[in-house]
Amino acid sequence: MLNKSSIPFKFRAAMAAALLAISLAPAPGHAVGSFTNLDVTFKGAGWLKSGMVMHSTDTVTGNQNYYNNYNKNWMQDAGVLFTGIINLNEEMEAAFGIGAIQKHPVQGVLKQAKDVKLGLNIFSTQSRISWFPAGKVDPKHRFDFGLFPYKYDNNIKNLGLYLIRGPVYPGILVSGFEAKEMLNTANMMGAHMMNRFGPYTQDLVFTSEQDFKPLFDVSAIYVGTLKLGNAFELGSGVNFYHYLPVRSDVTSPSEKAGFDPSRKLEGSVPHPFDSYYAVNVGDSANPVYTWAEHKGIKLMGRFALDPQALLGPSEVLGKSDLKLYGEVGVIGVKNYKGIYDKISERIPMMLGFNIPSFKVLDVLALEVEYYGSKIVPDYRKLNEEVSAVPQSPWVNRAAPDTGAIPYSQMEYPAGKDDIKWSLYASKVFAGHVKISGQAANDHFRTGGTPGLAGKSYEEALTDLKDWYWFLKLSYFF
C-alpha cells in the first residue's frame, strides 16, 4: 500500500476526481437520485433550425447520373444537448454531456428529394476534467483533460479560426452556421494548458484528430494572446498539425511503406492531381515523385479592436457593437513541388466588423474572407483515400447521358470562390431564448444528397453569386 502522505495532494485530488467522475454512471440499481448529493450544475440547450441554399453555381458534383444540385434546397434540423458540470472542489471540476441532432441530407433535385430520410447524430458535448490551480474565479491557470471546447478568438462568428479548423495538405477551410466551435461544444480531445501572466495569455493544446484522416494523430498547438488595455488584443499561434502521428506510415506515405506512387483516379480530363499519394514532377519515362504528407505547420496572427473601450461607454450602443477583428493564417509552411508550390495561395485572411445594432440585436457581425487557394475545396479524396494531394477538378463530376455538355466535361470552378462573406445576427431574450440567423457565402458543406450521389465533402458555394441563409430558435439554461 502506498503511504497516503507520500502522494502529493494535487495528484490524490486528481485521482479522486477522476474516480468520482467515472462513478457517476449509474450502475444497475443505483439510484439516480444520488446526483442530488453532488454539486452538479446542468446546462442544456434545444433548438430548431431551418434554412435554404439560395444559389449554388456548381450543380454537377456527384456520381454517374446523380448529382448534387443544392439550389433552393431546404434544410431543417432539431437538436438537444445536456452538459453536467460537477464541482469537485475549489480547484477542480468535471463536465460530461451528450447531444443529439435530428437532421437529414439536403434534398438535391426532385428524384433525390423523394428519398430523403431523417437521421439522428449523437455526440458528446464534453467529457473533461479541469484543474484550476489558482481557483476557478477568473482563472489564471487552467488545465483540461479529455474532450473539451477550445478556441482562441471569441469574436469570430463564422469565418476564421484557421489554426484549429481544417487540414493542412490539402489546405481546406471549414466554416458554416454556428459550427461547434461557436457553441462551446467540444472540439479538442487531449490536453490543454492555459496560463495568464498579466496581459499575456498562452494556450498549449495537444489534440488528437477526430475529423480528418488520418485519424488520431496528435497535433500540438500554441497560441499567445496579448491584451493591450481593454481596447486592443493581438494574438498569434502555431499548429504542428499531425506532428505526433499514430501511424507515421499513413501520415507520411512513401513507397517504402507500401504506397504506389502511380496510383490514380482519372477524370474525363487528365490532371496531375489524379494521383493519390505522389505527383510525378518528372516525365513519364523518368518519373520523379513528390510525396505529399498530411502533417504540416499552420501559423496564425490575429487582432481585435474595441473602439468603445477607447471612446468610452455608450448608452445607445450594444456591448459588441463596432468591434473590429481580423485573422490571417498560413496553411502549410512547406511547399511541395508540383502540388503546393505557392505559399501565397495558402494564406487565408478574414476581417470582421460588428455593425452597430444599438441593442436591438446582441451582435450583427459582418465577416469577409479572402483565400487565394486554387485547389478544389473538397476533402473526399482525403477522407476516402487518405490522400494529401488535392482533388482534380475533373473528378467527382456526375455524368448524365443527356444534355449538350456532359457534366463530366464541366470543370470544378476552382478559383472563383476566393472571396467569402457572412452576415450573422443573434439576440437573446429573457436570458435563455436565442434567435440567431445567418446569410452567407462561406465554406458550408451540405454533406450530400440522398441516393447514388451519396455523401459529399465539397463546399456548396463556389462562386461569389452563391449564398444561403439559416434561422435558428434555441433556448438554453
Partner: protein
C-alpha cells in the same frame, strides 16, 4: 359567457402583446435556474397471437421485446418560461417473421430526441393561464382519454388514408410528436389549440400542416371537441407533395400487369369519360370527439377517477373526393368508442376501445414511402396477381384463395378494431401496463425488409404487450 366577453378577451390579447413586446427587455437571472432531471426506463415484451395474412410475412407467434431509457431536463427559467429537453435510446429488433428471417434478427439501438421545446405561459400559472406558446419538438394530444385507437386528426396520412395506433405510442404517453409551434388558449369552458407542425415521419418530409382543435368543457364530466387539420398546407417542395413529374415518379400506363385502378401510382383514368385524375398528398381532415364521465350520474363510490368514462372520436380523412379512387367520403370516416371499465382502484384504468373504419383498401403506406403514390396499395404493389378465373391470388409461387385479406383491394374484414389497455402505477415511480388488441400495429417488417402495413387484417387477429417501467 361573461368570461368570453369582449373585455376579458381583449385584456388577454393585450397581455399577450405586452408580454411579447416586453420580451426583449426582460432581465431574468441566468445563473441559478432550477433544473429538474427526470428519467424513465422500461422493458416491454409481447407476442402476436394471430395474424391472418401470411402470404408475404408470417407474424404468427412472433415475439417482441424492447428495452428503453430516457433522461429529460426541465428548466424552470421563470414562472413564465420553461425549457424541456431530453434524449432517449431504445433497444429494438425487427419482427422475426418466418424461421428463415427469424434467425437473422439483430438487436439495434435507436436513439431519439424525446423533447426539445420551450414554453411561454402568460402569467406563469400553468393551470389558469389563458395563453401558452410552445416552440420546438413537443408533445401534443388533444384527447387524453384515448389509450390506443383514435387521434385521427394528428396521426396518419390523408391520401392515402392511413390510421395509426399501437401499444403506448408517443401520443398517448406524453412523448414529443410535433415539431413546430403550438398555441394553447383557455378561456373559461373553452380551450383552443393551434398547431403549425412539420412532418418528420412520413414522406414527403418537412411539409407544414396547420391544425386547430377547439374544446368545450362545461363541467368536469363532459368534454366536446372538434378540429381541422390542413395537412401539408405549406409544402416544402410542392413537386413532391403534389407529384407530377413523370420522369421522377414512375407511372404505369398500359402495362399488361395492371389489373386494377390501385395498380397505378399517380393517376386514375376514367374508363367511361377518359378523364385523367391526379392526386396530391395534401388534404383536409376534420374531426370531432367527446367524453362523458358516467360517475357524474352514478356517483364516485369506490371507483377510481378514470372509471366509467366513455369517450368517442370520429373524423373525415380528406374532405375532397378524387374520382375513381376516393369517391366515397363514408369510406374515409373512422369512428371509435372507448369505455373505462370500473376497476375500483385496482388499476389506474382499464380501457376498452372499439373502432370502425370502412376503408376497402389495405392500411399500408408502402406505395407512399417507396413510390410517392397517393393511391392505396394494390395487389400489384405487393406482388400479388389474380388468375384469369378470378379465383386464385398468386404471390411468387404461393396460391391462395381470392378472398379478403389475400386480395388487398377489397378488404372488409379489417373494418373493426378493438383494444383493451390497462395500467397501474405503484409507489408513484413504477408502472405496469399491458394491452391486448387488434389495432393498427405495424411491425416494421422483418430483418430482410421494411414494411409499412398493419399486421392485422381480420377480426381474428390480435396481439398482447406488457411493459414494466420506472420513472422519476
Amino acid at each position: 359567457m361573461t368570461i368570453m366577453g369582449n373585455s376579458h378577451a381583449t385584456r388577454s390579447i393585450r397581455r399577450c402583446l405586452a408580454a411579447l413586446l416586453l420580451l426583449p427587455s426582460l432581465a431574468l437571472c441566468a445563473e441559478e435556474i432550477p433544473v429538474a432531471i427526470h428519467g424513465m426506463g422500461w422493458t416491454q415484451v409481447g407476442r402476436i397471437m394471430h395474424a391472418s395474412d401470411t402470404v408475404e410475412y408470417n407474424y404468427n407467434g412472433n415475439w417482441f421485446q424492447s428495452a428503453s431509457a430516457l433522461v429529460e431536463a426541465v428548466a424552470s427559467i421563470s414562472p413564465e418560461w420553461e425549457g424541456r429537453l431530453g434524449i432517449g435510446a431504445k433497444q429494438v429488433h425487427k419482427a422475426q417473421g418466418t424461421p428463415s428471417s427469424a434467425r437473422s434478427v439483430v438487436v439495434t439501438i435507436e436513439p431519439s430526441i424525446t423533447q426539445a421545446n420551450f414554453t411561454y405561459t402568460l402569467g406563469g400559472d400553468k393551470e389558469a393561464s389563458p395563453f401558452r406558446l410552445t416552440l420546438g419538438y413537443f408533445p401534443f394530444n388533444y384527447n387524453p382519454d384515448v389509450r390506443n385507437l383514435g387521434l385521427y386528426l394528428l396521426r396518419g396520412t390523408v391520401y392515402p388514408n392511413t390510421l395509426f395506433s399501437g401499444f403506448e405510442l408517443e401520443e398517448t404517453i406524453g412523448f414529443a410528436n410535433q415539431l413546430g409551434v403550438g398555441l394553447h388558449s383557455t378561456l373559461g369552458a373553452f380551450s383552443h389549440d393551434l398547431l403549425l407542425s412539420s412532418e418528420t415521419k412520413i414522406r414527403p418530409l418537412f411539409d407544414y400542416s396547420l391544425a386547430y382543435v377547439g374544446k368545450y368543457r362545461p363541467s368536469p364530466a363532459f368534454t366536446l371537441g372538434a378540429g381541422v387539420n390542413f395537412y401539408r398546407l405549406i409544402p416544402i417542395r410542392g413537386d413532391l407533395t403534389t407529384p407530377r413529374d413523370r420522369s421522377v415518379f414512375p407511372e404505369r400506363f398500359d402495362s399488361s400487369e395492371i389489373q386494377s385502378k390501385y395498380d397505378r401510382n399517380q393517376f386514375y383514368v376514367d374508363p367511361a369519360g377518359g378523364d385523367t385524375v391526379r392526386f396530391s398528398f395534401k388534404g383536409i381532415k376534420v374531426g370531432a370527439f367527446a367524453s362523458f364521465d358516467l360517475k357524474a350520474l352514478t356517483g364516485q363510490g369506490a371507483m377510481g377517477d378514470e372509471d366509467l368514462k366513455i369517450y368517442s372520436e370520429a373524423a373525415l380523412l380528406g374532405v375532397k373526393n378524387y374520382k375513381g379512387i376516393y369517391d366515397d367520403r363514408s369510406k374515409r370516416i373512422p369512428v371509435m368508442f372507448g369505455l373505462n371499465l370500473p376497476v375500483f382502484n385496482l388499476l389506474d384504468h382499464l380501457s376498452l376501445e372499439v373502432e370502425w373504419f370502412g376503408m376497402r383498401t389495405r392500411n399500408d403506406y408502402l406505395k407512399l414511402e417507396t413510390e410517392y403514390s397517393p393511391i392505396p396499395v394494390g395487389n400489384l404493389t405487393l406482388g400479388r396477381k389474380i388468375d384469369s378465373t378470378g379465383q386464385i391470388v398468386f404471390q411468387n409461387s404461393k396460391r391462395v384463395a381470392n378472398e379478403d385479406p389475400n386480395n388487398v383491394e377489397n378488404m372488409t374484414k379489417d373494418d373493426w378494431k378493438w383494444s383493451l389497455h390497462g395500467a397501474k402505477t405503484i409507489k408513484q415511480h413504477i408502472r405496469i401496463s399491458g394491452q391486448i388488441a387488434n389495432d393498427h400495429f405495424r411491425t416494421g417488417g422483418t430483418q430482410f425488409s421494411n414494411t409499412y402495413e398493419t399486421a392485422f387484417t381480420t377480426l381474428k387477429d390480435w396481439y398482447l404487450m406488457a411493459k414494466l417501467s420506472y420513472f422519476f
